[in-house]
């Protein structure tokens, strides 16, 4: 399997990098010059017509969409999440899609508040995103407390742990006051993320991408 990840440090491609390192899959990084407009180039649009990172080139063609890449890696390797025949697959997919289309989307609305309705309405967009983010992390926390699933656990590394870990990192670091989150409000999630960031593979990515030694639970340090 020959893999090339189109990557910029601390962008969504970092989520895929955590999974690739955890799986010890050899891969090449193609660094994307986002500020230089590389995502709009015709060459890049041939890889990903949506024009976002990450994209992962595989021997089955190019992939994009963070969660699609994570799921493809799970299915290719049989690791970091339940496979199609596992009784946990349905719940895992439900929460993977929820993370992608609800939590990740709300986080993007917080980081790019002009997107929904223009600069003039940025404050309202941030306030709406804040409410959604806290509610959605609350649903994940309640699910963890009630179900302790193997696919989002402190005892087993998983793609969802790395995905949510990077989103939480950004939600602690990036929103201007009074917005943002306190991870202590979500103790079960914090324990899962602490276990993920402490893994050898995660520490390799954190060092290489310059994320600090506690990239999920204490990203400012």
């Amino acid at each position: 399997m020959i893999l090339t990840l189109h990557h910029a440090p601390d962008f969504a491609s970092t989520i895929v990098r955590f999974a690739l390192e955890e799986l010890e899959l050899p891969h090449t990084l193609a660094l994307v010059d986002i500020d230089g407009g590389a995502l709009a180039s015709p060459e890049y649009r041939r890889v990903n017509p949506v024009g976002l990172i990450p994209a992962l080139e595989t021997d089955q063609g190019p992939m994009f969409e963070t969660a699609a890449i994570l799921l493809w890696l799970v299915d290719q390797t049989g690791r970091l999440g339940p496979g199609p025949k596992d009784p946990d697959r349905g719940a895992f997919l439900s929460w993977l899609f929820f993370t992608s289309n609800a939590l990740h989307q709300a986080a993007l609305a917080m980081f790019y508040p002009h997107r929904p309705a223009g600069e003039a309405n940025s404050d309202a967009a941030r306030a709406a995103a804040q409410e959604q983010i806290v509610a959605r992390l609350g649903l994940i926390e309640a699910m963890l407390a009630a179900q302790s699933p193997r696919w989002l656990s402190a005892d087993h590394p998983g793609v969802l742990g790395y995905y949510i870990g990077v989103l939480v990192r950004w939600l602690i670091l990036l929103p201007p006051a009074p917005y943002g989150i306190d991870l202590d409000d979500f103790p079960h999630l914090k324990a899962v993320l602490a276990a993920h960031e402490a893994r050898t593979a995660a520490q390799r990515v954190a060092a290489s991408d310059g994320l600090g030694s506690t990239p999920f639970t204490n990203p400012g340090s």
């Binding site: 017509p49 949506v50 595989t58 089955q60 063609g61 190019p62 992939m63 994009f64 969409e65 963070t66 969660a67 699609a68 890449i69 799921l71 493809w72 299915d75 290719q76 496979g83 199609p84 009784p87 697959r89 349905g90 719940a91 997919l93 439900s94 993977l96 899609f97 929820f98 992608s100 289309n101 609800a102 990740h104 989307q105 609305a109 997107r115 929904p116 309705a117 223009g118 003039a120 309405n121 309202a124 967009a125 709406a128 649903l139 309640a142 699910m143």
Partner: protein, 226 residues
């Protein structure tokens, strides 16, 4: 046997058309949105997000439209499975439909969740422009992968139900999507409408005679759209 928790012309419609298209037996259970049953303790126990649909299965409830489609697809072979050369395309367009096209279309329908009243017009202009770009990408993908974007199949049904809603909503806003601008999706709409299960589902949910090529406001015999 599966139980599909549904409301008429909600995202459960996507699951229903795929199940019926594949001849997979299931029961329906109406979620009465008029009495906000989606917020009841019983429904939240199945799906804590309170969103429709939920599919009850022998191994527990599955929620999120894309997750249900993918779960059904892998079990009943409705799309390329792991290892298939078309699997990457299947997965990336499934997530694009879910987290970009579907999620941003919802934002057009519910502007009050995203902007104050005097910002609704700007919100509509920005979001409808973005959605047209998303439909253009889906139209190109449907041309490139006709087997994936086929009638009755997960990606085909998902895409075509989104175009139906884009034509109809927001009810009080200007019409902003012309399906004729997207030839592959327009052909898909006609092909989905020609399938035997489409009029059966359309009658059950009050979707009219041409739910995809000439959508009209739903008039469901039971339940409430909103």
């Amino acid at each position: 046997m599966y139980t599909l928790h549904y409301a008429p012309d909600n995202a459960s419609l996507i699951i229903r058309l795929v199940l019926d298209g594949a001849g997979i037996p299931y029961r329906t259970h109406l979620v009465d949105r008029a009495t906000r049953q989606q917020d009841s303790a019983a429904y939240r126990a199945l799906n804590p997000t309170g969103l429709i649909p939920t599919l009850e299965t022998p191994v527990g409830p599955v929620s999120e439209t894309g997750a249900i489609l993918l779960w059904l697809s892998d079990l009943h072979h409705l799309g390329p499975g792991p290892g298939d050369p078309e699997r990457p395309a299947f997965l990336k367009w499934m997530f694009f439909l879910s987290n970009t096209a579907h999620s941003e279309l919802r934002q057009i329908f519910y502007p009050h969740q995203y902007a104050p009243a005097d910002g609704h017009h700007a919100h509509f202009e920005i979001m409808s422009t973005r959605m047209k770009r998303h439909f253009a990408l889906l139209d190109a993908a449907a041309r490139q992968w006709p087997k994936l974007f086929a009638p009755a199949r997960p990606l085909g049904v998902y895409a075509i139900v989104l175009t139906r809603w884009a034509v109809l909503y927001p009810v009080n806003g200007p019409r902003w999507l012309d399906l004729a601008d997207y030839p592959a999706l327009e052909a898909l709409a006609a092909a989905q409408e020609a399938r035997v299960e489409t009029p059966v589902v359309a009658r059950a949910e009050g979707l009219g005679a041409h739910p995809f090529t000439r959508p009209e406001q739903p008039n469901p015999p039971e339940g409430s759209v909103l």
